[in-house]
């Protein structure tokens, strides 16, 4: 091995933790299991630089970096980790926070949304039992719906943010929200009918009922307002058309500096918009929770 591992030893522990070089370590481990030995006929020995254990914040930033490269971190630990970084380093804005942690700004926004909920609700996502845990995405997806209802519907405004949130939690526990992504139907119903007062009034009444009646299921309540699928097909066609037309223009090897600069800045705008849109369209249920709930349903 040419580059030594970087390891540290926690106080009191006999073993070492790898800071850098885990893949090299695993590789050598597998070779040893296959029976390959070192030149001296003994199991291979790994050179390592032993460094001081990282401080809490350094360790945390390292964890962010690992999770950015390998397996994505769950939203809740990311949010709590981010809170620790904010408390310790007090970065002035999301941009510097993004630089520090490697998280994208929309990811940071999501974490901030989660942290804006009272601890009582955050703790529901810290339940180790996936059957009773409220997935952290629930809060992200529910927040626009709660905000809309509290702002536009007097009855829900009287309830206030916390009690309105309680109502949605109750509904989720009653399995009337099959997927947290279904919250988007509520906002979509509102957005699509903003220009049609008669339908909008019906949407608002439905939202009120959705909050107050725990048996009303999301899809059955809002599907009638968003049946128009043409928008999605148009958006898909536009994406294909954009790429095809741009390819047909054969601008890849253009020479003029000004034109190149203009095109690059226009493309950057398109890229930023697309990245943002793609981030917004992301979102899924917590697979642990979905599986656990499905298993419970199967056994009932």
């Amino acid at each position: 091995m040419l580059v030594p591992l970087t390891v540290f030893q926690s106080k009191g522990q006999k073993t070492f933790s790898i800071l850098d070089g885990e893949r090299r370590y695993r590789c050598v481990l597998e070779l040893t299991e296959e029976g390959r030995l070192g030149k001296d006929g003994k199991p291979m020995r790994l050179p390592a630089n032993v460094v001081e254990p990282p401080s809490k914040v350094a360790g945390l930033l390292y964890m962010f970096s690992i999770h950015n490269i390998r397996e994505a971190w769950e939203l809740m630990p990311t949010a709590l980790g981010l809170k620790t970084v904010i408390d310790e380093l007090k970065p002035p804005d999301n941009k510097s926070l993004s630089k520090l942690t490697g998280l994208s700004e929309p990811q940071i926004e999501r974490c901030r949304t989660l942290l804006a909920f009272p601890e009582k609700f955050q703790n529901m996502s810290l339940d180790p039992d996936p059957v009773t845990r409220i997935p952290s995405n629930f809060w992200i997806e529910a927040k626009p719906v709660i905000d809309l209802a509290v702002e536009k519907i007097p009855v829900i405004a009287n309830l206030g943010f916390e009690r309105a949130t309680d109502k949605l939690v109750e509904k989720y526990r009653a399995r009337k929200i099959k997927s947290v992504i279904h919250f988007r139907r509520v906002i979509e119903s509102y957005d699509l009918n903003e220009g049609d007062p008669a339908t909008l009034a019906r949407v608002m009444r439905r939202i009120e009922e959705f909050f107050l009646n725990p048996t009303v299921e999301t899809r059955s309540a809002f599907d009638e307002f968003i049946l128009d699928k043409k928008r999605i097909q148009s958006a898909l066609a536009l994406c294909n058309e954009f790429i095809e037309k741009l390819q047909a223009l054969k601008v890849r090897h253009m020479a003029d500096d000004d034109e190149r600069s203009d095109l690059r800045s226009a493309l950057k705008q398109v890229r930023d918009y697309c990245n943002r849109l793609e981030e917004d369209l992301r979102g899924s249920d917590d697979p642990d929770v979905t599986t656990a709930v499905a298993n419970v349903d199967d056994t009932v």
């Binding site: 926690s10 106080k11 009191g12 522990q13 006999k14 073993t15 933790s17 254990p53 990282p54 401080s55 809490k56 360790g59 945390l60 964890m63 971190w73 769950e74 809740m76 630990p77 709590l80 980790g81 620790t84 601890e119 955050q122 703790n123 810290l126 339940d127 180790p128």
Partner: protein
Amino acid sequence: MWQIFYSIKAALRFRDYNPQPISIRSAHEWMGQFHKGDRRLAGKLLSNVLYFSEKETRQILLMLNAKLMARLANAGVPAKKTVYVSFDETASSSHMMLGMLRDHGALLQRGCNLRDSRDIRGLQEVTNKLEDGAIIYIDDFIGSGRQFGKARDFAMQFVFGNFAEFMLVPSICEEGKAEIEARGVEVVARNVHLKSDRALQATSTFLNPEDRERATAICRSINPRMALGVEDMATMVVFYRNAPNQIPALLRGNKNLTPFKGLFPRTTDLPFEKFIQQPKRMRE
């Protein structure tokens, strides 16, 4: 003759088994459920049981803890930088062991921190405040280690400081030890329960192959699904307060003690009216 001999032996060795007190009479009744030709085999199997009485469990926990604390103190981790963590369901063995250690090992007086792995917020707050130190998980017995692994992996997502992790446990199966050590948690145990120590495992020489097959067949006839316990581990460790769910059916018996009454039923195996409604003195 064998029945009486092994019944006396069982009553002497296992007399403080909590869920169902073991007397000469109850041990005699347990052996009486086997065919005459199998009674000696059942009795012999009892000699393979590694039993931890309350006193012994307490002594081992205290001794292991004292050694670990001394080692940590030498390495610059004082008691106030340690977090003792119980895990699993409320009132499970892990909680009992932590309670025992708290009271007899004076953990609170020494300034140690106590948390439950389900209290993620509390665990995060204390580890954030300490920044570094040691996390010590407690239990009486670890079988496959998977139950612990799940609880630990979930909780550790929220621990950001630099903490050495230890599992303090009187007895642990070799499978569990490997599972836990793979996570970088150091096992501090009195006994590692090897497969070869378990009479009904193929690698054991405690019984001859014919006897082992016969005993396994008896287990299957008692509980076909869990003949050798969870994941066929066939562990032979029993604690005064409960038996692990990895022990063979021949020792554990059936749910509600029917049709086969085990010598070491788990607390959840006992019929409600017997276990819950009657105080211990009346049961005896």
